[in-house]
């Protein structure tokens, strides 16, 4: 509805809370953080203008590279695995059989276990004499020190955060339901097998959902801190020292606020660049414009 005269102000009154909140809790802090990143700014003591000093300092900081690499590795494992799992679950749920409501609930419920409780429950499952090692043992595998071997600890974090795919699953499910069934029927008549139907019909038709889910889970993976802090604490030997942990500790443990602000901005730029790159690439194979 378009309003006239003095009533023109009304829509702005409705969105006023967001404008105020955006300025107060997003725009101003973000701008201030950029400003801080140009200073050697510690919690106590003097602050000193260093220009791009915090940014150049990062490129000489080994821990920066390590944290970035760990986070990239984690995202590169979790995002595709999470997409595959949520899509597989959605495809199972899209079959029209009795009792699907029960399975839909069962597949969604793991999403409710998150944060600190998730880390504690999985910490117990993954412990040296834990139940996962019992299963591995029963299958004839070697004992794996999930949380104490630097070579596998990253996988422990991936595994812990892997089951809670409910939101992505629901997005895939509604996308799958919108694929016209005539497409599948026509392809079947033309002799296309299940694999071929999946690649040539399903994937392109649910393209926008894939793009959306990838971006959301990529952003989430880059910000992961709660689980690592409570599961491994970034260890062993910094094997799960993620970027957000690096930023958090620089700010609140070491008190280098300016450096932490610069760290955070590098992350924002990295996530933004990855997102834009992904959207650009996806236009090539997605059926819809995103």
């Amino acid at each position: 509805m378009r309003l006239k005269g003095r009533h023109k102000i009304i829509p702005y009154l409705f969105i006023l809370p967001w404008i105020v909140g955006f300025i107060g809790f997003t725009a101003f802090p973000a701008g201030f953080s950029l400003f801080m990143s140009a200073f050697d700014w510690s919690i106590v003591g003097e602050r000193e203008f260093v220009g791009l000093g915090n940014y150049t300092r990062m490129f000489e900081d080994e821990v920066f590279y390590l944290a970035m690499a760990n986070t990239a590795k984690y995202a590169a494992l979790l995002v595709p695995l999470g997409l595959a799992l949520s899509l597989a679950l959605a495809m199972l749920l899209s079959k029209n059989v009795r009792g699907m409501g029960f399975f839909k609930t069962a597949f969604y419920v793991p999403t409710l276990l998150t944060g600190v409780a998730l880390a504690i429950v999985w910490g117990w499952i993954l412990s040296d004499r834990g139940v996962l090692n019992f299963f591995v043992d029963a299958l004839g595998g070697p004992q794996i020190r999930w949380l104490t071997d630097p070579g596998v600890a990253l996988w422990a974090v991936v595994l812990t955060t892997f089951f809670g795919q409910g939101a992505q699953m629901l997005i895939f499910l509604s996308a799958l339901k919108n694929v016209p069934s005539e497409l599948y029927e026509a392809a079947t008549i033309d002799g296309a097998g299940a694999g071929r139907r999946f690649v040539t019909i399903t994937l392109p038709m649910i393209g926008p959902a894939i793009v959306f889910n990838t971006i959301i889970s990529l952003i989430a993976a880059f910000q992961q801190i709660t689980v690592v802090l409570n599961l491994t604490g970034g260890g062993p030997d910094k094997a799960t020292y993620f970027y957000s942990l690096f930023v958090y500790q620089n700010a609140f443990v070491r008190g280098n606020l300016g450096y932490a602000a610069a760290n955070a901005w590098v992350m924002l730029v990295a996530v933004l660049a990855l997102t834009l790159l992904f959207i650009k690439l996806s236009r090539r194979w997605s059926y819809y414009e995103v």
Binding site: M36, L112, G115
Partner: protein, 276 residues
């Protein structure tokens, strides 16, 4: 039904059941582990059914820290944040979905773009801002931002509000209602399912929030459950049984809320069971 179809259907149910068992296993494992007697907990190979249900584990764990206090704190923070987010997000979504005005597109794009900003960027300046305002060690940083709308929920409500025909406002305006009355008395009831969804999703986020209380609260009496549980974990690494018991208790409110409102999250088919 032909034999092939029966075989295929059996295979489907077998797959569905297996996947469900694997996905739900952590819940089962946390629950039975929290009930085992202490000696049995340390056994390897582990037992898959406790020899005895030690319910006193829960009493012991709950009383080992001021968890009752943390629980009350969590309930307070979550309730306030959920009230705030449903009121503010619906108001903002109404403004964006039901009016045409200058700058609307730009505002909408900006709103969606803010979702990409990681907390890492905001946490340090917000800490300073809150400390300047005297909000550190109060619940205000955990509650107040919810009263200014959260982009994801605004987007969700906007998508729904756009589908409603214009006739509603036009008729009400002729009857002499003002725009706020229209929003409050006509559209709020219509948005009920989406508002319930918003409330449930936000409840899950705030109830489990760890980072906010970690950064903005210092006084242990003000702790919420996640932070209380995390500090408990670092203070006594060995007592897994108690930590699991608290984790299970912490899971109950989200589970209850989810089961009460699952048709709003999962869609209508979840209840009826699609035709076979």
């Amino acid at each position: 039904m032909p034999a092939r179809k029966i075989a295929r259907r059996t295979g489907l149910y077998a797959t569905l059941t297996t996947v469900a068992i694997v996905l739900l296993f952590p819940f089962y494992w946390a629950f039975i582990s929290s009930l085992k007697p202490k000696a049995e907990q340390a056994q390897y190979p582990p037992t898959f059914w406790p020899s005895e249900f030690e319910w006193s584990n829960y009493v012991y764990a709950w009383n080992s820290q001021p968890f009752s206090q943390y629980f009350v704190n969590s309930v307070f923070v979550t309730t306030m944040a959920v009230i705030g987010v449903t009121l503010s997000s619906s108001l903002i979504a109404y403004g964006l979905a039901r009016f045409e005005f200058k700058g609307k597109r730009a505002i909408f794009v900006l709103l969606l773009a803010t979702m990409i900003i990681p907390w890492d960027v905001l946490v340090v300046p917000l800490y300073m801002q809150y400390s300047y305002l005297g909000w550190i060690d109060t619940y205000l940083p955990l509650i107040v931002p919810s009263f200014f709308g959260i982009p994801f929920y605004i987007y969700l409500l906007t998508q729904f509000l756009r589908t409603i025909p214009r006739d509603f406002e036009e008729a009400a305006l002729i009857d002499g209602a003002n725009h706020f009355q229209i929003y409050w008395t006509i559209f709020m009831p219509m948005m009920r399912p989406q508002l319930v969804l918003t409330a449930i999703l936000h409840m899950l986020v705030v109830w489990n929030d760890f980072l906010g209380p970690l950064v903005f609260l210092n006084d242990p009496n003000k702790f919420t459950l996640p932070i209380g549980l995390s500090f408990f974990k670092s203070s006594q690494l060995i007592d897994t049984t108690s930590m699991l018991a608290i984790s299970v208790v912490m899971l109950l409110p989200p589970l209850i809320v989810f089961f009460l409102g699952q048709r709003y999250i999962l869609g209508n088919e979840a209840q009826s069971g699609v035709k076979g």
